[in-house]
Amino acid sequence: MRQMEKEIILNVLNLSKHYKYYKSIFDIKRDVIKAVDDITFGVFRNEIFAVVGETGCGKSTLAKLITGLISKTSGDIYYDGELLDYKDKKKNFRKKIQIVFQDPYSSLNPKKKIYKIISYPAVKNNIIKKKDRPDFAASLLKNVGLDEEILYGYPHELSGGQRQRVGIARSLSVGPELLILDEPVSALDMSISAQVLNLLMDLQAYDKMSYIFITHDLKIVRHIADRVCVMYGGKIMEISPSADFFKEPAHPYSTILYNSMLPYKFKKQLNFTDLNGKNTVPGLIGKEKGAEKGCAYFKKCYASKEICGKNEPPLKDVGNNRMASCFFPFTHQGL
């Protein structure tokens, strides 16, 4: 793909989501969790944009912000050049952007029959009539590799993987352009995961869909993604074309992620040290006390120097259409 052919479909500018919570009932001071902290990036039309990072780094929060399920603290999102505002009914953003959740259990209404769940968004958006629901749902079920026999069943009668595919079918029902997939296959078994990934690649190729694909499985990222976005502590560490990323990650944190997968071998005596050998402080990911000014990854980084604790490295071009927020990109350890 040449650079000039690419057209940006989603533009995220300085987006933040901060949560406040009480440390304990006796403590009136409130702590802030910067779940998503001042991040900026763009997603191209028809691209698979993978977001990776460890638990709690803000991936789901980002997904919820883009789909309007939670309100932002600050920043803006533009979709196809227009300010993304779900309250603006004329713009039909709800039809264009759909989400598939991480968790196939709580995302389906337990009291509704499967065919109703799947066709609900389509009915609501006047795409189909109520009487056409069973046929409509049956064809979507086929698309995601499920049998019609479950049409009149309820979510609790399905296994986790079956429910996740129902969730995907529901999201596809309104013919979206951009799908936000939050760990769509992490609850699925391997052979079905392969089917779903094949399905998603087909939809991208033939229906020109774009995805933000949230996952923590680098094997899948390597297989499916065009670009990789690495998050840590609510910040973006790196955005790189997938092929380059898997040749050589730019950010030290990316290197750690990469090493932990290659080859994925269970390290019996990990003993709660970080994968780079440093002791992990149990606790919140994100900026630790005293590191408010510096790099989010400073405390755990093997490549850090004094400046990393003082200034925050901006996300900047490091060549070859790659971006990294690190003062010392391409510093590798044990690679």
């Binding site: 990072g53 789901s60 709580s106 079905i192 990990l270």
Partner: protein, 340 residues
């Protein structure tokens, strides 16, 4: 932290366990959702149950604890015997008086449920949910219980002190799962059933949780039934693998033997359907898939349960296939396993 070094004989033995499921919409009909399952795990050992979504792995875990839904299912044969130093003699959970079940669950055998959202109470602080689990079995002061809860949270890489008062919705999916594991471990059980404990976790946290499970396993001589759909995790953590399909064990044996030399067509297919990070791997290609998907029909009698999706099937497979011991401790349920 004292875990009480247990050295005496400890094992969990499942023999011929068959659980019938009567789905409401099939009036009068049933399937054997668990069919003549044999499984054996010693203290200090990890047995992985690996299989397809819908194959009955969670049902197996629930049935071992007698937590299978009583309105739609019943155990029709077999036993689940637990030998634990805390008990004078082996206990058969299947034949245990229901009123004794609460004293067994959590203490002799505990479970980490697959679904953290229905098993964590959304309106109770996570710390309190853990101390509740302690109080249900042990008498101790609140501060002492709180300390234990915090230490277990810390071990799960959650800041126990800061998050003791957090509600489940304030945690990320991965954190909730780790709270669940802390809760299951807090009574120091002899056996733990872990139903997909790392599925929702990222690589680095998953490694830490696996290493924590490994560590507690060694310290308490804990026996673990590790349910997963991810062969690469099973490969790395387990001593034995039970490959599960449609309620039956298709293949079982030592982990190394199964991974190096899979014999059942299903195991072979599974190993082939995972993307790889190898340098010469071509991304964006169609992945190998097992055609079709698991359906209720696969649970029917009179044919191999994998028949509908098997690349090796022929007319010889149209009968009930027994699980054969083909060498010491290695079992395969297939009539054609020999022919490559």
């Amino acid at each position: 932290m004292v875990y009480g070094g247990r050295t005496k004989t400890m094992n969990l033995e499942i023999k011929d366990l068959t659980v019938r499921l009567y789905p409401k919409k099939y009036a009068g009909g049933y399937i054997n959702v668990i069919d003549s399952v044999d499984l054996y795990v010693n203290g200090g050992e990890i047995a992985a149950v690996v299989g397809e979504s819908g194959s009955g792995k969670s049902f197996l875990g629930l049935s071992i604890m007698r937590l299978n839904p009583p309105d739609v299912s019943e155990v029709v044969s077999g036993f689940v015997k637990i030998r634990c130093p805390a008990e004078k003699e082996a206990l058969d959970i299947i034949r245990l008086n229901p009123k004794n079940l609460p004293s067994v669950r959590g203490r002799l055998v505990s479970i980490v449920f697959q679904d953290p959202n229905t098993s964590l109470n959304p309106v109770i602080k996570i710390g309190e949910q853990i101390t509740e689990a302690i109080f249900a079995h042990k008498k101790m002061g609140k501060p002492e219980a709180k300390e234990i809860a915090i230490s277990y949270l810390n071990r799960m890489n959650i800041d126990g002190k800061a998050r003791f008062n957090a509600y489940p919705h304030e945690l990320s999916g991965g954190m909730r799962q780790r709270v669940m594991i802390a809760m299951a471990m807090v009574l120091n059980p002899c056996f733990l059933i872990a139903d997909e404990p790392t599925t929702a976790l990222d690589v680095t946290t998953s490694l830490q949780v696996l290493s924590l499970i490994e560590k507690i396993k060694i310290e308490s001589n804990l026996g673990i039934i590790f349910i997963t759909h991810d062969l690469s995790i099973a490969k790395n953590i387990s001593d034995k693998i039970y490959v599960f399909y449609a309620g039956q064990v298709m293949e079982s044996g030592k982990t190394g033997e199964i991974m190096d030399n899979p014999l059942h067509p299903y195991t072979v297919s599974l190993i082939n359907s995972v993307p790889s990070l190898a340098a010469d791997y071509m991304p964006k290609q169609k992945l190998f898939t097992i055609p079709g998907y698991l359906t209720r029909d696969d649970f029917a009698e009179g044919k191999c349960r994998f028949y509908a999706r098997c690349f090796k099937r022929d007319e010889n497979c149209l009968k009930n296939i027994p699980l054969n011991e083909i060498s010491g401790g290695r079992f395969v349920r297939c009539v054609k396993w020999k022919k490559k």
